[in-house]
Amino acid sequence: MTDALYYARRYPLGVIGALILIVFVLTAIFAGVVAPMDPLTTNARASLAPPSHIYWIGADMMGRDMLSRMIHGARISLAVALGATCIGSGLGAMLGLASGYLGGWFDLIVQRIAEIMQSLPLLVMALVITASLGPSLTNTIIAIAIPLIPNVARVIRANVLSLRELNYVEAARAIGMGRTRIALVHIFPNTLAPLIVLATAQLGSTILTEASLSFLGLGVPEPYPSWGRMLSESAAEYIHSAPWLVIFPGLAISMVVFGANLFGDALRDILDPRQGD
């Protein structure tokens, strides 16, 4: 507890970030309770209704309450952010660990594949993947996760390489510990800190990638209220007559990504001081 207070005082920006994230996660979990209306029910009479006491931040073209859609949209963004980050970081960490520790041919192949993936622009890869898998929430998550893998794998690999040379690992090897055991007991725990830092940094960018995919007509399909989809396409056309359609989802995305970035920064300073200042 005192630790928490200490960190809170030292990293005020981090606290703000954490608060934003907490509000975001709670909104997502309790969307069904918090949202004043059903996010999918259309209402012809409320089409493009401006903000009022009924529709706090207005209604969209289909007369659906924007506030309720934004609240439910938090779920989609959370699912995309968590899903893609976990899959991407998880697979990346595994590959990085294996290639760093095993070295040799395996390392060489993983390195080349990572380099190939990094030479293809991220958005283009996500574009091709969603196009082949078809638009759905799961497929969007996969499409965003795959391009994350090489980056994570490289960082973890570099970390493992430096750990491998450390004295206690050599000692473990000397006393005849198995390779898998060394990797899991001595090396893996030591890569956790950079992994967490990296994963937090990616939380925000996955949400942004989803938004860009939606802008290009891919991403999470209707009628799911994804923030990215909400502010692209037809909504963007109404920027003059119904600016609330464009401004609020954009603000929501920016706020959450901002929160994740603030929190990630603070976390990096705490867990892995070498990477930051």
């Binding site: 012809a44 078809g134 399909p221 209707e222 009628p223 396409e233 109404y238 920027i239 003059h240 007559s241």
Partner: protein, 528 residues
Amino acid sequence: MKRSGFLLAVVCLLGLGHAALAQKQGSTLRVTHRDNPPSASILEEATISTDMPFMAVFNNLVVFDPASPVNRLDKVVPDLATSWAWSDNDRTLTFKLHQGVKWHDGKPFTSADVKCTWDMLTGKVQGKLRKNPRKTWWFNIKDVATDGDDTVIFHLYDPQPSIMAMFAGGFSPVYPCHVPANEMRTHPIGTGPFKFESFKQNESIRLVRNPDYWKPGKPYLDAIEYTIIPNRSTMVLAMAAGKFDLSFTADLTPELTKSLMEQVPTMQCVMQPTGTQGNLLVNRERPPFDNAQIRKAMVLSIDRKAFSDILSQGVFQVGGANMPPPEGFWGWSKEYMETVPGYGADVEKSREQGRAIMKSLGYGPDHMLQLKVTTRNIPDYRDAAVILIDHLKSVYIQAELEPLDSSVWYARLIRKDFSVAMNIQGTGIDDPDVQFFENFLCDSQRNYTSYCNADLEKEFHRQSQMKDIDARRKLVWDIDKTLQEDGARPVVFHAQAGTCWWPRVHGINIARNTIYNHWRFEDVWLDQ
């Protein structure tokens, strides 16, 4: 020299009579374009993206009177044909052609070019066109013959007054015989007022004045330049800023049109039916939709007015397969529509009936029928499908959206690999022959729901041969009613959209009942 020029101008002015302003020669007309046309070959495409920009390169045999705001059979006037005559009990149609017309590459235009064009369109000459989307339009042509360079004769199987409408449509230009089809896709050659100059993919299309145009003194513009702007918000900003003179036809939703007119009070805008309709495709071969009762319940759940209010602030119209009046000529009158089931004003009552049907089949609030609504993954389709899904809930149907990439959409429809689909389809001409033969013949390629009614098909042919327009319209109404009652392809809305231009553009006359014609630009000029 000066004096004769002056005299000439005076004579021109007098000749024009009522024209208040003299047409000014020169200037480039800048037009927005909604997307990249698949090719420059009008005969091979069925999209306005190709039709509008390239129509000015060509001429037709006949056209809908450019001065008339309606495209109708009695408004057909000569273009490349100077006159035409029916004979042999209306089974032979003879066109006399203009002489001395030259293609843009200098070769003379003759009757052989006309024959050649329709031999390709009817499929008599194979392998020239890569695709031929309007083959069904010309099913009635037995053969085409020439008589010297200036006469061409069409022999028909049956009398068909509407064939004149098809000849007059923007989709039926005359192609040069001597230019290979692939060249027509990349560098079209025509006889029209403008010559093709360039087509840069995803960027721009540029046509320049044809100085040797066979209609003396025309056209007035030096060039027409289309800039492709797929992002509609950017397009509206650019239009409002005056970067363009004319917006792509029917590219502005009713809401955007309103907003643009508010931003620029002098902007000239026309709202017109786009010839596209939203309709419901139900796969009647796949259970449980082979049950006519379920299909009926689905139709009863639809609130057509809500579609129109949401998608267009109430501008979209309700009707049967044919375009509704006042713009459309063949659609039901208001009074007639009242007699068609499912078109009543009381939606709640219809939905009550729908729920009763579903209950009798064992469905209810706790046991909803689960299904997927398939649609194309582009906004217009998706928006309509989302509303449909919401309406289906009212008759115990729980639907999920299945958005399909454009590349697989038609392939899936033709394979009949769907249960329920939200479809939007366009029709090039406001004409019952086009509508019925394209979509509802038992073996038509576009008959996605495999609706097949042999008795009705006889009626299609019967109306097609009728010369009395009013009697024909009555029959068309009845046919349309049967189609809707049978749930062949329940029509949900008829779309409308806006086209806008700055007041400096003169001579634009937009047809009220089609977006596909009137884009020859030979009378258009800019005052700047």
